[in-house]
Amino acid sequence: METLLDISGLSKRYGESEALRNVSFSLARGEIVALLGANGSGKSTLLHILSGHEVIFATGSWQGRIVLDGVPLSLRSPRDALRAGISMVHQELSLLPGLSAAENLFLTRERTRTSLPRRLASLDWVDRAAQREEGAAVLAELGIRAGTEVPVRRLSLPVRHLVEFARERSRGDLRLLLLDEPTSCLNRGDSDTVLDAVRTLAARGTGVLFVSHKISEAIALADRMVVLRDGDVAGIFSRRDADERTLVRAMFGGDLLAATPHASRPDTEPGPDGCTAIPPEATPGRWGPSGLRPEAKAKEKTGKGATIPAVPAVGKTAEKAPPVLAFENVTTATPDENLRNFCLAVRPGEILGVTSLLGQGKGAFSRFFSEEHMPFSGTLRLKGRTVTVRDASFRRHVAFLSEDRRRDSLLLERSVLENLTFPAYALAGRFRRMGPLGLFDRAEAERYAAEAVRRYGITCASLRQPVRELSGGNQQKVAVAKAAGLSPTVLVVCEPTRGVDLRTKRALLEWFAELNREEGMTIVICSGEPEDLVGVCSRIAVLREGQVRRMLGRGADEAALLAAMEMDREADGDGAANGPECGGGCVGAVPGAPEARR
């Protein structure tokens, strides 16, 4: 097969961090290639380069060579990419929400009643009737019979994904189709429709490059799999010689983050949480690269998704201490991703992990803390007392760090000193002089801040340096120090190691363990990255559709976690659509762009 796309030596830096490092591979005409990798491995960046996303060019462009059909490309804008025959189906969707499906389908390729010369082409009268008809036909090919005149925002998420897919594949000059998580928000039936359509496209000679976190799907669909890790190509596998285990190992590397031994008190085992909704599950101890325990091996199913055999809980029963934070049948009602009958009890002194696939609940969990006016039903209890997120007492006791630390957890223009001490000063009455006036006691604050900087290894030019200038890792350290400085009862952190270098990652996770060990602080880590959770958390709650569906114990490893996150897909079948967070979010945020990068 002749080569369609040839990438050689592709590199991209965001400021100081390298998103992609000397990536090279090629794609043949009619070939389907899957791009796999952990969060932050560079796969989204690669797609964005190929599609000409503006952030790429605005942050220093890329180095290397991209050759399509023998022609080297410069790809400075989405138009360049479209003209070259490359089009992309975005994870966050590029449909215009207020326009109708028909208008979206034909945007920039409108069907018009007049044909003015090229310079005046934008004055052509758009033929709505023709677009309606043709649009309905195009959508019908994918089995959609929804009205083409409805504003796209009123279509359900799976339909929107299909509309965008229909739009891209119907481009006459399409040579290379890029797909970013094409089926993450689709149920079984719709996924199959899309995958079939992809195969048909490929059969006609279009090259397809897609990013997916669903390893099983990648194996089923792709001819070859390119695995990225930390910006490098960790391996290129063909369908025959790849299985999930190999791929996972390539994605995460053989040396998993050394599990920090921690003693969370009390010694917690997963067990009944006080809510009847959750079936207790336990993993029978460590599954590691060293092999499986004999009795578990017999029950293990290899192939499409490892399943966790249900084994009766062993070990101590959970201590009867009342949960420090409890969610009882919490259901939120936002237009985006929601929690649904969410039950969770955070035990005092534990490190609890909360995770899910994109759009399945972890985002809702995070937003529950950060958005005050989220309508919800159910009960939230703090140390037994019913509270709402808006209560000042809640905020005193539950410190929250969202996944966007630059936006939510830091005052970027202010100094390290001010960031470290502000909450304690403004809200907890520290660092004050002149009694009732409450003026800032700079000397005492500086002492405290200097100690914090030393203790946590925050690298900064001085205490007066604006936090904006620190690296991502150091900013995160300041944010954590600030939150910990309030001595909260519970510390809830979301995506704590996003955009953070490897050393700081380890430091942060060890820091959490230390806080937990020495101060008995209860910590909840909400993250989509297995590395944040495995080996650190005593329990990991895996969410699906806004509910806790699995509770993993301390012994779970990456593979088990990934398997648990992907579970129930078969069970879902033709079930209802998932939360529109996947595909509904803000397009401007490029995963891989400075905020999110290490």
């Binding site: 599609s51 996303h53 503006e54 804008s77 989405p78 138009r79 479209l82 992309m88 975005h90 969707l93 590029s94 449909l95 215009l96 929400p97 207020g98 326009l99 109708s100 945007l107 920039t108 409108e110 018009t112 082409a121 934008s122 004055l123 052509d124 009268w125 758009v126 309606r132 089995g143 959609i144 019979r145 929804a146 009205g147 083409t148 005149e149 409805v150 504003p151 925002r153 009123r154 279509l155 359900s156 799976p158 339909v159 929107r160 299909l162 039936g189 719709d190 936002t334 237009p335 985006d336 033709d574 209802a576 659509a577 529109p580 595909g583 509904g584 979010g585 803000c586 397009v587 401007g588």
Partner: protein, 393 residues
């Protein structure tokens, strides 16, 4: 009339999922609430009534107009004639605001800049001592390109302040006005000799406060002047207004209009689709300013007197208030809304002073009321304009 009106606020979108394969939303689907009733046939009056019921702003203005006409005690033919005159005079200025709204830039309060370009053209023709067709030709030849150029400049500035276009356009309008007035005071007769000294102030430099334009007087209004049932109006003027309205409507339904709506909807996503948002916005601004110049030319020919220093002031406010009175919002505006709004708003404008005089023996009160209504309508539109969040319902 297409209404891109209001969406139901909050709540999950009604699921039109693939699994409901049988169900069809039907084409021309449910745009905005409540149209179903209006569409259910019935007499024209019935449908108009139903339409009004779902469009509070025009309804409110209709009521106010009715009250005002009653209080003012003016005869209907008189009011009708006044209103038709103002329709011809002020519609194009209201039309000029439609495109920036469509492109997501809100109300173009820099419209006076276009008006100033028009006045500049007329003044240059007058100062040069021209008359007749030569004067008209010169005025147009200056005003239109100048307004296009200024529109481009304004567009470039507004592209740099995304999200704050309205307040910045206000400042641009004010600054432009000051500069224009400075030029009118400081240039003619002092820095540049004028062939026609009668336009100057008595001290010999700087333009007079108002200039009578012989060559421009009623050039449209006199075309096709007819009287029907005691009401006289100009077919020529109506024709011209109709042409402009048709042109704007065409623009809205063209590729440009679609791309403008896309840019207004979500700028980043529009860029991903291959549209260049800054260019679309710039074009919208240029068109708006040029239409503003045309509108001001029409206005002045009808008025036949040019108030040099104040003629352009408030043109943006009245145009905006009229457009909003017709039911437009900061997010969408149509030609029909502009026409309706001009009718309603300017009727109110005409009757207010007399209404005030008759009820409270104070015409000023009537004027205060109409000022309040004009600014209030705009303030209300700004307050009601809620920002959408991504793809939420």
């Amino acid at each position: 009339m297409p209404f891109f009106g209001d969406r139901p606020a909050g709540g999950p979108p009604p699921a039109v999922s693939v699994s409901e394969r049988g169900a069809s939303e039907g084409n021309g689907g449910a745009h905005g609430g409540g149209n179903a009733g209006a569409r259910a046939g019935g007499s024209a009056a019935g449908r108009a009534g139903a339409w009004l019921a779902t469009h509070p702003m025009p309804l409110l203005f209709l009521v106010l107009c009715a009250v005002g006409i009653r209080l003012a005690g003016l005869s209907l033919p008189f009011v009708a004639e006044e209103v038709l005159t103002r329709l011809c005079r002020d519609t194009v200025l209201a039309l000029a605001l439609i495109l920036p709204i469509t492109a997501g830039m809100g109300l173009n309060f820099a419209l006076p800049v276009g008006a100033m370009a028009a006045q500049g053209g007329l003044l240059i023709a007058t100062c040069a001592g021209l008359s007749g067709d030569a004067a008209v030709g010169t005025a147009l030849a200056v005003a239109l390109p100048l307004s296009a150029l200024l529109g481009a400049l304004i567009g470039m500035v507004l592209n740099r302040v995304k999200g704050r276009e309205m307040i910045v356009s206000i400042v641009i309008g004010l600054l432009g006005s000051n500069l224009y007035q400075l030029l009118c005071l400081g240039v003619p007769g002092r820095l540049i000799a004028v062939a026609n000294p009668s336009v100057l102030l008595s001290k010999g430099s700087g333009l007079r406060n108002s200039v009578d334009l012989e060559f421009f007087r009623h050039i449209l209004r006199d075309v096709g002047h007819v009287t029907v049932g005691g009401v006289s109006f100009s077919l020529g003027s109506l024709m011209v207004v109709f042409l402009f309205a048709a042109a704007v409507h065409w623009l809205l339904r063209s590729r440009f209009g679609l791309h403008a709506r896309a840019v207004a909807d979500d700028r980043d996503r529009a860029a991903l689709c291959g549209i260049v948002p800054d260019r679309v916005r710039l074009q919208a601004m240029v068109l708006s300013t040029v239409l503003g110049a045309c509108g001001q030319l029409i206005y002045i020919q009808d008025l036949s007197i040019l108030n040099v220093y104040t003629g352009h002031l408030l043109s943006d406010i009245f145009a905006a208030a009229a457009l909003l009175a017709g039911g437009a919002t900061l997010r969408s505006a149509t030609v029909g809304q502009a026409v309706l709004g001009v009718l309603l708003f300017h009727t109110l404008f005409v009757v207010s002073p007399m209404a005030g005089q008759n009820t409270l023996s104070n015409a000023a009160i009537g004027e205060y009321c109409r000022s309040f209504i004009a600014y209030g309508v705009i303030a209300l539109a700004i307050l009601l304009n809620r920002r959408k969040e991504g793809m939420s319902a």
